[in-house]
């Protein structure tokens, strides 16, 4: 009896820790669909971040293709909660926004974008001569 409770507790903790580091890995195919989907009365992610997130409608909009999935997911959660402020992003992805995102949406979109090619890359300082 005691061991059953312990196993249940261990399972709960294990699930919790997975969620704490960004949830289950996303599904890129579903992420692509969600990224391109236009909700009624709203705009798709791709309408500003362009196809596969590899472009942007203007220079103040970030390139997303090739960015780390966990960074993207954290950013989307912060936009959703309002912890990170950007008028356009908050108004869209918040629960009462025009393009609200579920936890699964966030993981799927992040997995999709991280797998795309772009000019974005890890900074490598030039070698000293």
């Amino acid at each position: 009896m005691k061991s059953t409770a312990l196993i249940a507790l261990a399972a709960l903790l294990a699930t919790g820790s997975v969620a704490a580091v960004g949830g289950p890995p996303g599904n890129p195919a579903l992420g692509k669909q969600r990224f391109e989907a236009t909700p009624p009365g709203g705009q798709s992610c791709a309408s500003c971040h362009l196809e596969s997130g590899a472009g942007a409608i203007d220079d103040s909009t970030p390139l997303l293709a090739g960015q780390h999935a966990d960074y993207l997911a954290m950013t989307l959660r912060q936009y959703r909660s309002g912890e990170r402020v950007n008028v356009l992003m908050n108004a869209q992805v918040a629960p009462d926004g025009t393009n609200p995102l579920t936890d699964a949406d966030i993981e799927n979109i992040s997995a999709y974008l991280a797998a795309q090619r772009s000019t974005l890359h890890t900074y490598q300082p030039p070698r000293r001569r």
Partner: protein, 121 residues
């Protein structure tokens, strides 16, 4: 102390003049000075210059910033400086940046294209 003071004043004078020097030499359409940006970027490389480098608490990989759009980078650094974005290390770094420093850093990182680092002699 007497010998130390003039040296100190000299250093302060040079530091005070530095932003003016940087602002004087702008390159291209952008107001950022790419060469000065490269000098300022020395500290950034400690986290942003390491593949898969991880931030702790919360745990995530620090974002790729080379090749990112310039205006986005300017806005990000200004948001850290004002405290609108809350990452402690970035807030600490950005708190000392002038407008020109931010423009220079953004211009430099935006200018870094993948081929620049792949095609080394």
């Amino acid at each position: 102390m007497r010998r130390f003071l003039p040296a100190l004043c000299g250093t302060a004078l040079v530091l005070a003049m530095a932003p003016g020097l940087a602002a004087g030499s702008t390159a291209g359409a952008s107001t950022g000075n790419i060469e000065n940006g490269q000098l300022l970027a020395f500290t950034c490389a400690g986290c942003h210059g390491i593949e898969e480098f991880r931030n702790a608490y919360p745990n995530f990989r620090v974002p790729k910033i080379a090749g990112q759009n310039e205006t986005y980078l300017v806005n990000a650094l200004k948001a850290y400086r004002s405290g609108d974005r809350s990452h402690p290390t970035m807030v600490a770094q950005a708190s000392s940046f002038s407008e020109q420093d931010i423009a220079d850093l953004a211009a430099y990182f935006a200018s870094r294209k993948p081929q620049q680092q792949d095609r080394r002699p």
